[in-house]
Amino acid sequence: MLRSHLTNFPFSKFVIIQDTLQERGKPIFDFVLKTHLERSRHKIHYFVFHENFSQVKSNIGNENDVILHDFVTDSKGWNYARWGSDGWDSVNTPKVFEEVVKNVNEKDVVFVDSLAHVIYLYGLAETYRLFSYLKVETGVAQIITVLHLDLLMEDVKAEKLFEHLCTFSLHLDPKFNSDNGRIQYVFKKLGGKIIKEIEEYWFEDGILFSKKIERLDPKKLLEKSTPVDVNPETLSTFKIALSDKDKASRDSLVLPYLPNSEQTDSQDGGRIFYQFDEIDDWDEEDPDDDLDI
């Protein structure tokens, strides 16, 4: 299910992969990138914020659909600075994320690696505003980003804020009782439905596979542990169960107090007249009062 949620059309608008140093989310990020590259239906903007830019460039190779944006090598614009009258004047003004974001077209796919570094550079409020703008205003097909949880401060709760904004958040957990990592995801559908699931995932030949981890129901386990092969029918000397015929004859019996549509024109014999009270009988007393329960 995880793979189809991630890659099927219509794309979930804003995907956040939350990872830690222990369990890296990059493979999933790369897998989504690869799927988009293979389809090559959308133009891809790849914002590099923390890896070596030339390395990323060589990894992706000569893809025409990808536009790489370098925010690593010269984030402050110092490389080509020259000495002026009042300190270093930068010749190249550093690339501003906001400007690039405004140039993203409709139906483009945006990859940001990583969100935590964007927060470092621009602050939480500004980052949130930029991504909200990307999601709501520009009409992009999909935004995919990795959020390294180790790089966030505890008390700021940045991940909570971005979970509020995103439409699909994946949280990677370390391996547990299995060779595969596990993933908790919250998938918000357009109609307002929310899917919350825990799955274990692995890669086979570069393709993401996942399997739902079944949660054990304690009630069911208990039921299974106790034998249920005792049949009361065989224990008694009399008949307990009702056959279909018995049930039919029971249903056809008309009880004397029931409202009867057929008039019984019996000349002889007594009849029961039952007069309903104005208000239904109500007994104030608790009939089980004397019982010690």
């Binding site: 939480l124 500004e126 700021v156 106790t226």
Partner: protein
């Protein structure tokens, strides 16, 4: 104030309990819950559900009712374009959709023993005899464009923000308060004003205090760190009290700490919470399958009276159909245990049986 001038305000009524001027929230079941409607001059706080979709619907009903009743509107949001909210307002319809579904009892539902209960109404009749001021809406249709164009609607997006205030760490709050004050002044909604035709201003603020309202463009502060939000609600209430206006604000409270939330509720007059089942364990609960979430009325302030109208200790739930959103008293169905496969158990288990293990011999 003379009572004569009140009577001409369209879309309002007087409370039978305290004589307060009321307007409809647009949802008849919610009006009943609040004692007929929302009192004019109050701030209504709605705690958003996780996805924010149900709270948006409640807000839309409130605004649609204003347009149908020819009230003025001010709508503010930083998260979405407020004009989009106005475009998606539900269309007004003549009759209630629910009535046609009543008295459709199948033959198998006929009671054999307790037949005298057969003809009892299934809903509480005590609520329905109140005269409703609201209208009915169809969520599947949008309000006609001409209706919207002919009404007095102001939008606030938080685009133009000047600096220079010390009260709030984010100037957007100050800016919104100023816009509301100007709107009240221009439309002559203040109590002291004497306009030719008195009307009510409906203020809708969508997703107030969301991360879009975070202070300082470059800060790394937590969302709870400032007192902007509750201060804003406090000031808004003061403003709204002195005018013919009602403010409905929705807040994504799941992002906030409980303490900051309590401060906000304290500053508001009516507070309600929508807790959707979607994405939680309750989603699979069969007894709740008719509903989409719990509805909590956290606060109902006593205005112009000493005795607060308390709805009693009843649980409420809301449901959203294709065309209608409604709030009901939560009725649990009879406790017929069904296992998760959906099959009914073959043998009824009564209270006399063993508590933990299920045995056929239990009686």
């Amino acid at each position: 104030m003379e009572k004569k001038s009140h009577k001409v305000i369209p879309g309002t009524t007087y409370s039978a309990q305290n004589g307060h001027l009321l307007i409809s929230s647009g949802i008849p079941s919610l009006d009943n819950l609040l004692g007929g409607g929302i009192p004019v001059g109050t701030v209504v706080l709605i705690e958003e559900d996780f996805h924010g979709s149900y709270s948006k619907i409640v807000l839309k009903y409130f605004l649609a009712e204003g347009i149908v009743s020819k009230h003025s509107t001010l709508i503010a949001s930083q998260d979405v374009n407020p004009s989009n909210i106005i475009k998606e307002l539900p269309a007004v319809i003549e009759s209630d959709l629910e009535t046609e579904r009543v008295s459709k009892t199948r033959a198998s539902d006929k009671m054999r023993i307790a037949f005298r209960y057969q003809n009892l109404p299934t809903t509480d009749s005590s609520n329905s005899n109140m005269n409703n001021i609201g209208h009915n809406y169809d969520l599947s249709k949008n309000m006609s464009f001409s209706d919207i164009e002919n009404s007095d609607i102001s939008y606030w997006t938080g685009q133009r923000i000047e600096n220079g205030t010390k009260t709030y760490s984010n100037p957007a709050y100050n800016e919104l308060l100023k816009s509301i004050k100007n709107k009240i002044k221009e439309g002559k909604f203040f109590l002291k004003d004497r306009p030719d035709r008195r009307s009510v201003l409906r203020i809708g603020v969508h997703s107030l205090g969301s991360p879009m309202w975070l202070p300082h463009r470059k800060s790394l502060h937590s969302i709870d760190a400032t007192r902007d939000l509750d201060m804003f609600i406090f000031c808004l209430r003061a403003l709204v009290r002195s005018a013919y206006s009602v403010a409905v604000i929705t807040i994504p409270t799941h992002l906030y700490h409980e303490i900051s939330l309590d401060r906000c509720i304290h500053s508001s007059d009516i507070a309600m919470r929508l807790q959707a089942f979607s994405g939680t364990e309750l989603e699979n609960n069969q007894t709740l399958s008719d509903y989409h979430g719990f509805f909590y009325l956290t606060k109902l302030a006593a205005i112009n009276s000493l005795a607060s109208r308390h709805p009693g200790s009843v649980e409420y739930a809301f449901k959203l159909r294709r065309k209608k959103f409604s709030i009901d008293v939560l009725h649990l169905p009879p406790d017929i245990q069904e296992d998760s496969d959906g099959k009914r158990e073959q043998f009824p288990s009564l209270g006399c049986g063993g508590s933990t293990k299920k045995n056929l011999l239990d009686f």
